[in-house]
């Protein structure tokens, strides 16, 4: 197998240039998907037969929750690559993920609370799904705090990477919490192997939102990655060229 593409990903100037070129290809489709998903979710989808229009919180809650997990897995994988191959760019990817993941975990918790109040009669319950999602927020915040607390960037990279990798055990706990324990939270209705149980008018806007948020994450990651790569490079001649433009 040809591994040149992988080695090129370890080269900061290559990654920087690639990020500049790729960002619009993710940002604009993301904006389109999210706009279409919002229209579909708020206007076109019929009200739920049990939850009425209250179920429309799904279209912001599920994508936020998906982001909270997907971003964490990306962050932990990048951190692992950084630890194993001592790849600076991989650490830069992991560091870029954390604030994005933390903010969407926050959104998932808040939208979940706003959904819980009318449907379960409470904003918060120390329920397995809710508690493990809160732990995820603390993992992100811990990761960011650890990075901010260590002066030497290489040590910060390594220490925070260990935390990110260890914390990944929480991801399957969150995902399976609703099947393993008796949870208030409903079981998955889309992310499952069997056929989803939603009619297309409800399902399509949700899939658009999930796709839109994922593309949006890549665009954000690429933008943040450029900054992280720049701040890790000292006295490299390529920097002179990229900051002039």
């Amino acid at each position: 197998m040809d591994w040149t593409w992988f080695h090129k990903l370890a080269s900061p100037p290559h990654v920087y240039a690639l990020a500049v070129r790729l960002t619009p290809w993710f940002a604009w489709p993301a904006a389109l998907c999210i706009a279409a998903g919002l229209w579909g979710g708020l206007v076109l989808a019929p009200p739920d037969y049990q939850q009425g229009d209250g179920f429309r919180i799904l279209y912001v809650h599920a994508p936020s929750a998906w982001m909270s997990l997907m971003v964490y897995v990306t962050m932990a994988s990048a951190a692992a690559v950084g630890l194993i191959w001592r790849m600076k760019v991989a650490h830069a990817v992991a560091a870029s993920c954390a604030p994005i993941g933390a903010s969407f975990t926050f959104a998932a918790l808040v939208t979940g609370a706003l959904w819980g109040q009318p449907m379960w009669g409470t904003y918060w319950e120390w329920d397995p799904r809710l508690t493990s999602e809160l732990v995820l927020l603390f993992l992100y915040l811990g990761y960011m705090g650890l990075r901010a607390g260590i002066e030497d960037p290489q040590r910060a990279d390594r220490a925070s990477a260990v935390l990110a990798v260890v914390g990944v055990v929480n991801v399957p706990i969150i995902h399976y919490s609703v099947t393993w324990w008796n949870s208030l939270h409903q079981a998955p209705s889309v992310m499952r192997l069997a056929k989803p149980e939603m009619p297309p008018a409800m399902l399509v806007p949700l899939l658009l939102m999930l796709l839109g948020f994922t593309l949006f994450f890549v665009a954000l990651l690429l933008t943040r990655l450029r900054g992280e790569v720049l701040s890790r490079e000292r006295a490299a001649s390529w920097i002179r060229e990229v900051i002039r433009t």
């Binding site: 912001v60 706003l114 900054g227």
Partner: protein, 54 residues
């Protein structure tokens, strides 16, 4: 139109949920751009200092 904003009586929950999520989306755009701008500025400053030193 009125019915749309009323959200079948769930307006007090649906609209704040959308507002928070969209706020997080737009804040992320702002934060990411600000982080990049800061790194660029810092890199520029570093280069200038090196230029003066040599």
């Amino acid at each position: 139109m009125r019915a749309f904003f009323d959200m079948g009586g769930y307006a007090a929950f649906v609209w704040p949920a959308y507002a928070v999520t969209l706020a997080v989306v737009f804040l992320n755009i702002f934060w990411a751009r600000r982080a990049l701008a800061r790194s660029r500025q810092e890199a520029r400053r570093r280069l200038q200092m090196q230029g003066e030193a040599s």
